[in-house]
Amino acid sequence: MDVVDEAIVVHFHEEIVADILSRLPVRSLLRFKCVTKFWETLISKPYFKTKHLNHAKNGQNSQKFLICQKCPKDRIFSFYSCPLSSVQLVEDVQKLDCPSNSKPLRCAIHCCYDGLAIITVCDKIVDETPILLLWNPSTRESIVLQHPQFLPEEFSSLGLAYDSISGDYKILIIHNFDYNHGYQRPSEILALKSGLWRETDKHPCGIQYVLSGMHSLAFAHEAFHWIGKTKTNYLLVSFTISSEVYGEIPLPEEICLMRNINIGVSVLDGMLCVYSTYESHQEEGTFKLWVMKDYSVKESWIALFTIVDPEIYIAVPKYRFSDGELLFWCIHYQCGTNVFRTSREPSVLWPRGGHQNGFAFTENLISPKLLT
């Protein structure tokens, strides 16, 4: 800097600087840490990170999609972050380095909440226990989590959420009912600050859990949700994050009458939604989605839409764009590969590939290291 005109030097209060900077993308903030020590300190403060997250939650440009995919050539997994500001996923894609290992041979994203993801990474295909990580893909920071008693398998589901009562993030892992042994493996919960996994109480009514392994647990109204089954019916199981109380929510009648179906539950715009893929009478693949307008009120399930597409074997909604269009992850019948598409456009948004999955997340600065 040469000569600074003193009259125009603006001595901002921290409050004003925080207000301006909290509206910036994470990438800009990481870069602006080197503007001055004052900014670096501010950007690292917990209150600033919370303020930034609150802006980011409402900002179109802060919504990103995290994709994990195996490269067919070298069979190595990679992570990508794509903007969700438009349906064109492949524009402005960033390739992310895998935390802890640059060339993993097995990888999975289990869930995303706020801007944090739970992933498992493994160097070898066999004979190796994968490591479980809590990762912020925006800042690339991660921590290794302790193993639960039962590691996530193909038909397990995880959920991550913030418990506002204890002021702590919690992770819940549940497993599919083991039909071979007639056994329900116990669910476990990890409060990050405690650092220890703990078995939760069993479901009081002995409901079997029906998990396809393609969903994370749906978090809404301070509770995790997943699909359960009694002897006669499917239903939604809820589990409150702070008091760990089980509840049951009835599903739309139509779902309960279907046969040979895949059911899932997710959260779109803060509302629970359930969906099923089934073969209609013409043997066409049909996907139907309902949202629950008023939480826990059976009558408020509303069928949002139906897609008939013989290609679809299983579909999972991932994100609702501001114009109402939905982003889906599907497995196709014919080729068996999974693809991303939207509700209106059957065309594939992302190059096909094996073992791919993705989750929407909000870019933020929350540091996994500071949550434990």
């Binding site: 800097m1 600074v4 125009i8 030097v9 603006v10 901002f12 209060h13 409050e15 004003i16 207000d19 301006i20 900077l21 509206r23 910036l24 993308p25 990438r27 800009s28 990481l30 870069r31 602006f32 840490k33 080197c34 503007v35 001055t36 020590k37 004052f38 670096e40 690339r140």
Partner: protein
């Protein structure tokens, strides 16, 4: 709301800037500022603003007048006004943001902070320093360390312009 105030006799306020210029405005226009509102509630009709200079105050009074007459039908007109309002230099924006902060006008604060953020987000740290008139207080070693720790944020080209 607007019609009831118009039928009554309009209450007026006098605002005095840091450079001692006085401006008469309607109370209903002024109370969009929380700071002015609190003083009016305490019975003041003469409001000295020792932190707000005339140049910024004129623009802010313009803004308050425009926004006091917000109706369903002039939505587009106000949008155009706001767009023109923020189409100015960084130094002007900084003066306005300091004034809006002092006056506690939250919608204006929002608009100004968002405008500044949008205009700096793709810039280089060097350009941002110049824009904010900040002298770098890092040693070259310290700065190199921060750049290294956040290497991915420094990949690519950045906007070096100062406007």
């Amino acid at each position: 709301m607007a019609s009831t105030t118009e039928t009554k006799q309009k209450k007026m306020l006098i605002l005095k800037s840091a450079d001692n210029d006085e401006f008469e405005i309607e109370e209903s226009v002024g109370v969009q500022s929380e700071t002015i509102k609190n003083l009016v509630e305490d019975g003041f009709t003469f409001v000295p603003l020792p932190n707000v200079y005339t140049k910024a105050l004129i623009k802010i009074i313009d803004y308050l007048k425009k926004h006091a007459n917000k109706t369903d039908s002039n939505d587009e007109e106000i949008k155009t006004f706001d767009k023109d309002f923020v189409n100015t230099t960084f130094d002007d924006l900084f003066e306005l943001v300091s004034a809006a902060n002092y006056l506690h006008i939250s919608c204006l604060m929002n608009m100004l902070c968002q405008t500044i953020a949008d205009r700096i987000k793709d810039k280089s740290p060097e350009a941002v320093r110049k824009i904010f008139h900040i002298n770098c207080d890092y040693t070259p070693e310290e700065e190199a360390k921060i750049r290294k720790a956040n290497a991915q944020a420094f990949e690519g080209q950045f906007d070096e312009s100062l406007d």
